[in-house]
Symmetry: C2
Subunit: 336 residues, 2 copies
C-alpha cells in the first residue's frame, strides 16, 4: 500500500468496519479479502498483510466471544498474470489462506455476497481495452500520431472517458454483487483533481515526450506510422467528480471517502520527484506494451532514449506544470 494512504485505511477499518455484522452476513467464520489487480507481488502481500493485521487487531480489541475469524485472501488479476510467480513468492509465515483468482475485475469474479473487503491498488485506472474509436480512421476520435488522450483533441479524451465509465461501471456493479452488506471497497489509483487536465501534470508531460520520441522514430523510418496509429495506452485518470457520479449511478454503495490525496502526503514521492524518476516510473509501466506492439527491447530503448532528450530540452516548462506529481484518488465505499 502506498504509505500515504495506509493511515486512511487503518482509520477506515477501525471506525467503519462493522465486524459482527460482516461475519454474520458472510456466513461461517471466515473474513474474505480480495486484492483486485494484484500483479505478482510483493506489493500486494504488504497491502494484504496490513489489512489482515488491522482487522485482526480490531477483532481482538473488541474481545468478541466467538472464535476469532480466519482470513482468506483472494489475489485477483487477468488470466495472463503470472500466478506461478505470485504463488511462489507468497510469504511462508502468512496468517491467512491464499487463493488466486484469474479474470477481469470489470466483471464478476466472485460469488454473490462472498467478500468482506475488496481492495485495489494502482490498478483501477487500467481500461479493459483501448477505446475502439481512437484507432478507427473513420472516427472523429481517431487518435492519429498519439499514444494517449493526455495531449490529444477532446473527442479522444471523450472516447477514453466513455470507456472508463463503462469499465468502472462494470467494476462497481460486480463488486456490489460480490460484497456482503456492510462490506468495504477501497480503491487507490492515480487520478486528477477536479478541473485539472492530464496534460497539466508532470506525468502527462513525460508521456507527451515519450510520444514525441516515437514520432521522431516514425519520421526516421524506424517505426511505421500505422504501427503508431494502432497503439494507444489503455489508462484513464479520472476526476473525483466522475467517480462520484459513477458511485451514485450504481446506487449500492455509500461513499465514505472520495478524494484526491494531497501529493505532499505521497511519501514515495516526497522531496519532489525528478523528471528522470518519472521517466523510470512511466517506462516500467509502458515498456512491456511497447515491446509487444513495436517489436522488441531495442525499440523500447530507442523510444526512452529519445524521450529522455525531449524531457531535458523541455525541463523548465515541465517543472512549471500545475501539478508536479500525479495525484492519487482514494475511494472508500461501503456496501449498503
Amino acid at each position: 500500500m502506498m504509505d500515504s494512504v495506509r493511515p486512511r485505511t487503518e482509520e477506515l477499518i477501525a471506525e467503519k468496519l462493522d465486524l459482527e455484522r460482516l461475519l454474520a452476513a458472510g456466513g461461517g467464520n471466515t473474513f474474505r479479502v480480495a486484492d483486485l489487480g494484484c500483479s505478482i507481488g510483493p506489493n500486494t502481500f504488504h497491502n494484504v498483510e496490513h489489512i489482515v493485521q488491522q482487522v485482526r487487531q480490531k477483532y481482538n480489541h473488541m474481545m468478541m466471544t466467538s472464535a476469532a475469524p480466519e482470513f482468506q485472501v483472494f489475489f485477483n488479476d487477468q488470466v495472463n498474470n503470472d500466478f506461478n510467480a505470485l504463488f511462489r513468492s507468497l510469504p511462508p509465515e502468512r496468517d491467512y489462506f491464499a487463493a488466486g483468482v484469474p479474470g477481469s475485475f470489470h466483471t464478476r469474479v466472485f460469488p454473490n455476497s462472498s467478500l468482506h473487503l475488496a481492495y485495489s491498488a494502482s490498478s483501477a485506472h487500467w481500461l479493459s481495452r483501448v477505446p475502439p474509436e481512437v484507432v478507427d480512421r473513420g472516427s472523429p476520435a481517431w487518435n492519429r500520431g498519439m499514444i494517449h488522450y493526455g495531449s490529444a483533441p477532446k473527442p479522444v479524451e471523450d472516447a477514453y472517458r466513455a470507456q472508463f465509465r463503462k469499465d468502472m461501471g462494470g467494476f462497481l456493479r460486480a463488486r456490489s454483487e460480490e460484497l456482503v452488506s456492510g462490506g468495504m471497497l477501497v480503491l487507490v489509483f492515480p487520478g486528477l483533481p477536479d478541473g485539472m487536465l492530464h496534460s497539466e501534470t508532470q506525468a502527462g508531460s513525460v508521456i507527451y515526450c515519450v510520444n514525441l520520441s516515437i514520432l521522431d522514430l516514425v519520421r526516421q523510418g524506424v517505426l511505421d506510422e500505422d504501427q503508431l496509429d494502432n497503439f494507444n495506452f489503455p489508462m484513464y485518470f479520472p476526476h473525483p467528480r466522475e467517480m462520484r457520479e459513477l458511485v451514485e449511478e450504481n446506487q449500492c454503495f455509500s461513499s465514505i471517502e472520495l478524494e484526491v490525496v494531497d501529493p505532499e502526503e505521497s511519501t514515495w514521492l516526497q522531496g519532489g520527484v525528478g523528471l528522470r524518476e518519472w521517466l523510470v516510473v512511466i517506462r516500467s509501466t509502458m515498456a512491456e506494451s511497447f515491446a509487444r506492439h513495436f517489436g522488441g527491447e531495442e525499440i523500447v530503448d530507442k523510444i526512452f532514449d529519445g524521450a529522455s532528450q525531449k524531457i531535458a530540452e523541455r525541463a523548465e516548462v515541465i517543472m512549471s506544470t500545475k501539478c508536479k506529481e500525479l495525484p492519487l484518488l482514494y475511494v472508500a465505499l461501503q456496501r449498503n
Copy 2:
C-alpha cells in the same frame, strides 16, 4: 473423473448430500467445491463440471424457494504446479467461479468450515516425501538398489506405510476442519484389495522391470549406484482396511463408501490393458522424476527401452499375476 466411479458420485450427491443443511452451515449462498491435487487439467475440469452439474440438478429438482446457489471451485495443488497453464485452459463457458489454491493437501489450505465438497482424483496416493529411512544406509529399511517398496523387503514397505499413515492422517485432519458439517469428501486413487501385495499386480511387475533396467544401467556404468540408492518413488497404494483405520482414528467422518472398485468397471482399461499400455502409463507418471533425478531425457529413454525388453522377456509370468489391473480405491466420507 474416471468413468467407472462417475455413477457412484452421482448417486452419492443424489442420495447423501443434504443441500439445505450444507448451505445453511456454510453461510451465504455459495456452494464451495475443492479439487485436491488438480494438476493442470483438463481432467479436473471434467470432474468439477460433473459435480457442479449434479448438485445443480439436485437443487433444481428440490425446487427450493431460496435463490439457486452459486458455485465456487478451488483448484488445489502444490505451489510448483503450473497454475498459469491451468488458468489459461479453464473452460470459458463454466458456470462456477474459479480460484487456484497453492499448497500441500496434507495440511490446511482452506479456512475452517468453508468447503461443502472436497474431491481428489488420482492424487491421494502421492506421499508428501520419500520416507527418510528408505534412503538411510544405516536403517534396516534402507531400500538398496530399489526405487519403490513393491518388490522390496518388509521394512521398506513398513516405512512407506508409516509415511502414508502420517500423510493421510494429516489429509483427513485438514479436511475435517475445512469441510462444513454434512460436507462430503470423495477420494479416488489407486489402491489394493485387502491382502494383495503391490508386487502381485501387473503395475507392480512393470515397475519392477523398470527397476531392473535401472540396475542394468548401473552395472554398465551409465548410472551411479548412489544415484539409484537415493531415488525412491513417493507413492503408496493402500488397502481398504488401512484407509478404514485412518478414518476411524480421525473420528470426524462417517464412512459412506470405502471399497476397491472392481477393475472390470474401469472402462479406461476395459478389454484388458496390454503391458505396453502399462509401460506408457507408468512412464508418464515417473518420467519427470527420473529426468530430474538422473539428469535428462536421454537417460529416461534408456531406462524405458530396457524396461520394455524386460517386460517382453517376462510377459507370460506378468500376465499371470493375481491382478491384471491396478484397482482403484473409492472413498466417500461425510463430515459429522
